[in-house]
Amino acid sequence: MYDIVAVATIVFFVGVFGFLTRKNLISLLISIELMLNAVVVNFVAFNKYLYPGRLDGYIFSLFVIAVAAAEVALAIALIIALYRLDNSIEADDMDSLQG
């Protein structure tokens, strides 16, 4: 189990690192997906080792996958809209919300 949690932690922080360092919006999206998948792996692992015989963790995983799919669809739509607006998908160009 520790191995699995370690892998999940690594994947999560790879996602965090990517989220903080990449500039491309698509890359940011992928980083978010990495974080989500780390969480999903954790759900499955904890369910299997701590509460065998119950299904809560698996079901949560499915929910997270479904929500992630919806989120990706939405995010891609927003990115395309932004691209049409600015002709760019660089996160640093998106500063029109500056106060």
Binding site: L28, D95, Q98, G99
Partner: protein, 652 residues
């Protein structure tokens, strides 16, 4: 006897006001039709007031002759009475129509003069811009004045009192593109408003301590004021004394009593028919009427202390006004000062009056003079208007020798001048003689003042008369001509009234205690007053009938005094000084400084602080998503570390 129909006396002018005001002033409506642009609005207004006039005459006939004196004195009848606003079981604002001798008399005066002025105006105002507007305002004024005279309670009176003030303001400022007219309108409004402040405070004090607004209850012998204990006192006067004094301040403002008179001469900027109706015959007597209405209170409270104030205010006003009138150049201003002087007579007559029988002579004389004065002063103004209409100038030096061109105006003006000078059998003789008799019996000093004023009056009236109709022949740009019939008919009617009204046995109808009183003329006094009037006339004749250097020599001889009266005793300048140097510079400017720098400064400081602080932190909102994410992540990690640290998990 049912007097319910008297409500129509008001409704007719209200309807004409609404009709003319709403329809007549719309170019979209009147522009298309030649008929609607023309005199039709004037005739609507005149017709409505004619109806009111007939009804008022019927009312007077029924009240004085049919109703008579059922139990020895004339009753008080209500034509209508309903509650308008109820505050508590005892205190409510009522509206209604109270008919007693003075209100019926005033109904007749107001509707008569108003009707004749309406009729006259259809000719005088012909072709003026704002013809319909003029008649709308005139109708509004008529309604307000009628509401004032029949008020059943002091609050209704105050309500209509302010309405006449507004209509007066509107009509003085009728030529609103003329700066002097606008200034005069504002002056009239502000000065009377200032006086009305006293009136309002007086009403509040009176009604607070008496618990009622109703005139009948207030003046009744066993009422809350006269029947109860003297009540609290303040600086030597009872609260009711103070209330009456303040109410008199309102009356003095409206009736142009010294020192609140400064608005009346300037009010002559309005069209002349307005001066005749409002500033000579009706509105300005409202103050006299007010004192007469509350007369039993003035007579009884504090032993008549306020009544002596009334008498002296009247006396001083009549003297000052008469002196100023002698030297004025503008014909309407002379008439305005003469009005003030005559109003002073009325106030004085009230001031020297008692309540019953022969004691009440002053009250009767005051109302009598009000009645006759309304007729001959309206006639003087309308005659002056006729002259101004022909000559296109207000100044006496532009007139002279007009008797050949304007015979009707000339004769009617002469009648009015004789009436105001107190020459029998013209009406002014009878009423003025009663006033002098009343003053003679009460206060010799006041009598001497009024006696002198009678002579001065005759002098300045005939100064105008000879100056306009005789005097030096002028060459006019175009030959003056007699006014049209709609203007001369009112003159003739008023001239007839000026002769006849003096013969009315007034004591039979109007007295302080509403009991008929059989007066008789005090012949020695009457002869003396005729004599002084004749002397005044003869002096004026010598001075002004033919061009000579006497006026100039007299002016030189009196030097400084002449200049003082010509400059109206500098009362306007005193007001100017008090208003500018003391009120504006001494009070208003420091208060404005405090407001601008301390109050506003505090508020501006708050705004400055908020703005500066927000500018400081505005850079945090960079709009860069990655920066937000970085902060967010950093914050999250910091929180997690904090939780671990606090729960002790970090240390194992």
């Amino acid at each position: 006897m049912d007097f319910g129909y008297t409500i129509w006396i008001f409704v007719l002018p209200i309807l004409s006001f609404l009709a003319i005001g709403l329809l007549g002033t719309r170019p979209a409506l009147t522009g298309r039709s030649e008929l609607l642009r023309g005199r039709v609005w004037g005739w609507i207004g005149t017709g409505a007031v004619f109806g009111s006039w007939l009804l008022a005459l019927v009312t007077a006939y029924r009240y004085f002759f049919v109703l008579g004196t059922p139990d020895g004195h004339r009753p008080v009848v209500f034509g209508a009475k309903w509650v308008w606003m109820r505050f508590s079981e005892h205190l409510s604002f009522d509206m209604g129509i109270l008919l007693d001798p003075i209100s019926v008399m005033m109904l007749v005066v107001v509707t008569t003069v108003s009707f004749l002025v309406h009729l006259y105006s259809t000719g005088y105002m012909a072709g003026e811009r704002g013809y319909a507007r003029f008649f709308a305002f005139l109708s509004l004024f008529t309604v307000s004045m009628l509401g004032l005279v029949v008020a059943t309670n002091i609050f209704q009176m105050y309500f209509f009192w302010e309405l006449v003030g507004v209509s007066s303001y509107l009509l003085i400022g009728f030529y609103y593109d003329k700066p002097s007219a606008v200034a005069a309108a504002k002056k009239a409004f502000i000065v009377t408003r200032f006086a009305d402040l006293g009136f309002l405070i007086g009403i509040l004090i009176l009604s607070y301590y008496a618990g009622t607004f109703d005139f009948q209850t207030l003046v009744s012998a066993g009422g809350p004021v006269l029947g109860g204990p003297a009540g609290r006192s303040f600086m030597g006067l009872s609260v009711f004394g103070w209330a009456l004094g303040l109410i008199f301040m309102g009356g003095a403002g409206k009736s142009a009593m010294f020192p609140l008179h400064i608005w009346l001469p300037d009010a002559m900027e309005g069209p002349t028919p307005v001066s005749a109706l409002i500033h000579a015959a009706t509105m300005v007597v409202a103050g006299v009427y007010l004192v007469a209405r509350l007369f039993p209170l003035y007579h009884e409270v504090d032993g008549g202390a306020i009544l002596r104030l009334v008498a002296w205010t009247g006396g001083i006003t009549s003297l000052i006004a008469a002196l100023i009138a002698m030297t004025q150049e503008d014909i309407k201003r002379v008439l305005a000062y003469s009005t003030m002087s005559q109003l002073g007579y009325m106030m004085l007559a009230l001031g020297v009056s008692g309540l019953h029988g022969h004691e009440g002579l002053g009250y009767m004389a005051s109302m009598f003079h009000l009645f006759t004065h309304a007729m001959f002063k309206a006639l003087l103004f309308l005659g002056a208007g006729s002259v101004i209409h022909a000559v296109h100038s207000n100044l006496m030096r532009d007139m002279g020798g007009l008797r050949k061109y304007m015979p009707v105006t000339h004769l009617t003006f002469l009648v009015a001048c004789l009436a105001i000078s107190g020459i029998p059998p013209f009406s002014g003789f009878f009423s003025k003689d009663e006033i002098l008799a009343a003053a003679f019996e009460r206060d010799k000093l006041l009598f001497v003042i009024e006696y002198a004023v009678a002579g001065i009056t005759a002098f300045y009236m005939f100064r105008i008369y000879f100056g306009i109709f005789w005097g030096r022949e002028r060459t006019y740009a175009h030959t003056p001509h007699e006014s049209p019939a709609v203007m001369t008919i009112p003159l003739v009617v008023l001239a007839i009234l000026s002769v006849l009204t003096g013969l009315v046995p007034f004591g039979e109808y109007v007295t302080a205690d509403r009991t008929p009183y059989h007066g008789h003329i005090n012949w020695p006094l009457a002869l003396a007053s005729i004599a002084v009037g004749v002397v005044g006339i003869l002096v004026a004749k010598r001075f002004y009938q033919r061009p000579n250097d006497l006026p100039a020599r007299a002016a030189e001889m009196w030097g400084r005094w002449y200049k003082w009266t010509r400059d109206k005793f500098y009362i306007d300048e005193i007001y100017q000084f008090v208003a500018h140097k003391i009120m504006f510079a001494g009070i208003a400017a420091p208060v404005a400084w405090f407001d601008r720098h301390v109050v506003d400064g505090f508020m501006r400081g708050l705004g400055w602080m908020t703005e500066t602080f927000s500018l400081l932190i505005a850079d945090l909102q960079s709009g860069r998503v990655r920066q937000y994410a970085f902060v967010f992540m950093g914050g999250l990690i910091a929180l997690v570390l904090l939780v671990l640290f606090v729960t002790g998990l970090l240390n194992g």
